[in-house]
Symmetry: C5
Subunit: 356 residues, 5 copies
């Protein structure tokens, strides 16, 4: 999440309705993808200029499902134009541009507005949380995605090659497919997190020098961030099911119910994942402390055995004039016997006490 801080500060105090893109501004260009399909036709266009686009929108056929995907949100002019074209409320546009928006759904008489997070994992192990906004009206499905990578490529294909259900269905089915697609990815992310936890757990016992506390806490933070992005999706789906919405055909409810089950399951799985991280921390700390204890036992063993013996040696290293033992013929072997006995007895004592 680059530039998060700067942007929020920049926004505070601005009048509501001010359009301001708070995401990563380094992305080069916005892209408009326009799909138009029904069971007979399928058309897909990549549009660059707003004029061509508004032309296309006006000439659209009524008997098709029309889907517009805008990827890259930094072009505010474009957004404003689209806003005018489809008559989108300023606050909605503001929500689309504020890519740190909490996932939510707003259901109006003539359209639905939903914000959801698409989570992917980069090769460098970092999570990328990309915001996707969806507007479902009676004529159009409009999706806005922050970031240039076209995440819906596989869905374009599915529509093109798809025969039965997809091409015969209306916007509501496309809406379902988009949500389902995003929510399915959460399972992947959860698995990746679980794998990482398992990997760390194994490492803990092998690599004993490293301090894993920070790494584990980072993992915990990642899990928390994912949970925060994922948990509201449950409310989104159950709101779709609860309310009586004109745009959603009752026959599509069974699909959304299925998705609802998934959101509940991913929520519970993420809770378990979170517990695993906490367990991992416990395991780590106790491993460290156990290793320490072993080390301390070694010290104690050596020290308690040799300290008294060294004392005895010290005694007979004294230079007193009159020390009868020093004169004895067998004084030296005798002292060896005494010291060995003491050493063995202490060893046995430790053995008995199970300290060895």
């Amino acid at each position: 999440m680059p530039n998060k801080k700067r942007s929020i500060k920049a926004k505070t105090g601005k009048p509501p309705g001010t359009l301001l893109y708070v995401g990563n501004k380094e992305i080069t260009d916005s892209q408009i993808t326009f799909l138009d399909y029904n069971s007979e036709v399928f058309e897909k266009r990549q549009i660059k200029s707003v004029e061509i686009f508004s032309e296309a929108v006006k000439n659209v056929r009524k008997d098709t499902v029309s889907w517009v995907n805008i990827s890259g949100l930094h072009n505010i002019n474009l957004l404003t134009e689209i806003g005018k074209l489809f008559d989108i409320h300023t606050l909605v546009l503001e929500d689309i541009l504020n890519v740190f928006q909490r996932p939510k759904i707003e259901i109006y008489d003539d359209h639905i507005f939903a914000v959801i997070k698409h989570i992917t994992k980069h090769d460098d192990n970092k999570l990328s949380i990309e915001q996707v906004s969806l507007i479902i009206s009676e004529d159009f499905v409009i999706t806005f995605q922050d970031g240039s990578s076209n995440i819906f490529e596989s869905i374009y294909e599915r529509i093109e090659t798809g025969k039965n259900i997809f091409r015969k269905s209306k916007q509501d089915y496309l809406f379902y497919v988009l949500l389902d697609f995003i929510i399915d990815h959460y399972f992947l992310i959860n698995e990746e997190l679980t794998e990482e936890i398992d990997k760390l757990q194994e490492e803990l016992f092998t690599n004993t020098d490293k301090n894993y506390t920070e790494e584990i806490h980072k993992l915990k933070k990642a899990v928390n961030k994912v949970r925060l992005s994922v948990k509201p999706s449950r409310d989104i789906i159950s709101n779709i099911l609860r309310e009586d919405i004109k745009m959603i055909n009752p026959s599509t409810h069974v699909y959304f119910k299925d998705t609802l089950d998934h959101t509940i399951q991913i929520s519970e799985s993420l809770d378990l994942t979170r517990e695993s991280v906490i367990s991992l921390l416990d395991t780590y700390l106790s491993t460290v402390s156990n290793r320490m204890n072993e080390v301390m036992k070694m010290l104690t063993l050596i020290a308690t055995i040799f300290i008294p013996l060294t004392f005895i040696a010290g005694i007979y290293g004294m230079n007193f004039k009159y020390m009868p033992e020093l004169e004895w013929e067998f004084g030296y072997p005798l002292i060896w016997i005494i010291m060995l006995s003491i050493g063995i007895l202490l060893g046995l004592y430790f053995k008995k006490k199970k300290w060895l």
Copy 2:
């Protein structure tokens, strides 16, 4: 749970409704068991081919309870055929095949669909969580179980030998018996977990060398996994009781109410079991630290007594030319007396301080 990861990844991005078995594919063959009974007749058949099966389904008597159990879900063709035969929605078939489905119930006008987990414990102490899906229609009870072992064998027998209630009742009673059978097993599992905790607890105090942290956390994970599988069963039963369902005779409600009590009780017991595992960890950690403390006390005792004495011996081991004490006739016995006094005084001090 073998192959879990691979399968979920394989599924992500597939269009909804794609039938894909995500469980263990090494199981050799699917088995269909067909039961047909009322108070007078009882018939049980093992069916291998789909054709014979569809024949059997068509010729079924209307005045009997017909129960079809399919064990082993990797044969997708078979599943598709059964789906067609009984007119099962693709999403339901998908749920049946996705053996990591969360336990749930879906109540429709003409049938009930339920997913529940059957938990057993293998000889090698591992829990096996097997998914059982049930479809209750007005004519048929269809159960799908992942895995080849026939878990319902004892119920077949009960029906065959059973007289009064069972053979006179309808599908709803069979439905109840199946749920009750599975939920009863949860108590067994909980007991096994409790036993394992008790066993570990005893071991802790005997075997002092082992690091139990990991083992205890594994146990905690197992308890969490069982809780996740068991907790939704409460909602399943209370949904059956709450809704006014055609398939469920009001006179059977009393049985389901009984099962509901069991689900509440097992939930609470599992919560207690979970607390026990956490207590076990606490006990273990404090045992380790107490043992460490004892060891440290020993070290301190020996070191604090002998270090000063060794110092004194060191003094009189010095080679200064003019050290009057060395010349004294009673210097050596005197130094022994001094050292013994110091040792005894320190010992008494420790005694007084209760460090000994």
Copy 3:
């Protein structure tokens, strides 16, 4: 709770409705106590045979409150007979026999069935949790208690000697008295637990050798067990008040409301007791660690003072040919002065650092 494990295992897989006593089978005999009273008459009989009992039941007067108490549940024949006599559902009988049943209430048109736990403390400090089942019908109050000790003796007396309210009231008042009697005992148990905690707390500071961890965790387990038995009683009472029950006279509601207050209060008190146990564990662990710290400080003090001094003594114990200091006349007293200074300076340093 003897035999708990065996019994649950024995029950799993049995058809529902199988009557099986899962409690302690060593209790010698079941006892039936029969009370019949109104404001004028009072009769109390100890009945041994089922025949005499069924005779008594048939001849019972309509204008009295009739209370049957069965103590000892292992005689399944007797239970079956009573079941027939009073027309009790098999599932209810099963619940009565399953003495590990969760406390609950079931309200039917013509009777109320309640299960509640009577907790007492034996002389050997062990808690005994005895299950009491109550059936309130329009003609009878039937109570079933696991265990042979007659816990209701004091209530028999109260009825016999009681004048005003008790003898003039109906079954509902008796029902209230029985629940109130059992719930009142919870306060006693909570107090005993609190006392035990206080006793342990005091011991902690006196007896420093013992490892109290296990003992404290046992206490925590006991508190948890009591909470599990006590908490549902709140629901039981509030259900009685919520539902419009024929058997409960509205004028008795004020008494049940009072009992409801008690169940809330005991719940809160038990929560506090639980917190006290956890605090106790904290106190214990920190006491142990504080004592350890004191011991370690002693070690450090002695070691850090004498180790450098011993080194100095070691220096002048070396046998080099040319060591000018050894020849000095005041070398020996000088070295004493140096060593004393070092010792005193280190002591002052520790003092300043507040380590002494």
Copy 4:
């Protein structure tokens, strides 16, 4: 709370409705204060005998607010008389006498019964939790307070000197004033607890010898006790607002709403106070452990530097016949140089490792 244990035990098993005072019996005498006022008249009497009191009650004017305060509850005769005089239910009288009653409100058609805790702090730093019971009927406000100190003195004054609202209002306003007075004190108590926590926190860093664990846990217990007494007050007030009560004038609702805000605020503040105590414990434990670490570092420093040096001195203290180094002319200064180098190198190593 003196005599708590004894009294509860004494009460268990007694028939409900038995009047038994469970509080401190050393308090000398009950006191009846009788106030009668409206915007014109104000009368305040101290009454000693029940007869005079019942006379006063009978002659009371209808157009005034009449408030009877009974302080000291051990005089059961008096209570019984008052019970008869005002027609109070035995269970209510029992609740008044059971000074360990949970705060609650009971709303009847013709009166309101409320129990609330008045918490004050004695000079010896002990909290005293005194139970106040209030009965609001259409003609009378009756308050019962455990303990002899007259806590309402300041309210008497306020009524006497008060002009506008107070004297013109009815019982409901007096009721509000009494509750508000008691709840206002909770803020004081919370502050005192916070102050004590702050004081302890400061002490922790100065006085390093004391074991604060027990003290902190005592404070935590006190906070818990206060929370238990204070939290139900929220329900009391919201019940007054929720129900449509004849005794409460709608115009007084605004005052109770204000009080409701206070109860929410004090609840939240007490939660924060509780967290502060827990933080305090954490701070203390970590302070202790930090100090320990410092001590251990000192030990390690001294020991690791001098142990090798002493070994070297030991080497040249050996008495072998052939030890060439001993004969060298510069052997002694050389060995000093070696030892100093070792010491300095170890010191630098520690410095680098940031252990110094």
Copy 5:
């Protein structure tokens, strides 16, 4: 929060309705800012005397939005005058003056009263929580702010320069803007807290001498305080949306819904921030303990290697007459070899045990 303690104590026991300012009394003077605007006119006046102010209020135009902001609350006379002028209930005035009031909203037929906290961060890193009270009536918006700094300066400007929405809207929009302005600041505060946590986290690993426990707990306290001030804002907004309020135009609901989303989001973010602080403490404690472990390992290494060697040196430092080894020609080099071997073997042992 200066003078908090004194003031609450001063207030306790005062009759309700007593106006008493409990905030910081050092602030010099109250300021009245008067704004009057619609799409055509804009007037802003700084008013000093109450008389001029009441004159201004009376002459106000009906077709404008009139906003009065009073900053500085210690001038009770002024407040009383304003109370009379706008007919404000004494309890509301009391709430305005009690700057420790919990955030809340009260909705009446003809006005809305809301209390909310404006949180800013001073340069010295201290949070300042300033109470803002808002009264929205049909003719006026009155705001009261504790403290002299004019926090709404930027809003004055926005109104003056604003064209479309703001100047054309009514009070409800101004109300929304004010709430939105304050809630927007919470995000800033949360960010500052997060930054501080991150800064501390980095410091932990660099500066190893400091005890961070207290600092971290202070941060936790700050987070808790902010949460307590922020969390009720969610209820405030949802109350505005829930109730059917005359003062709020339905067309403004969409704005408040947006603000509601923000309050939910800030709540969740603050929960995460709180978890971060707790994680920070864990990290710190484990860092300290890890460093300690390293130190201890060093000690153990040095001590366990050199203690036995010193013992051997001690042996041959004894002065027995008959010690054959001392006479051997190669005794001295032999003993060196033995000692080196022991040292190396111990080192290898430690290496193998991964203690090095």
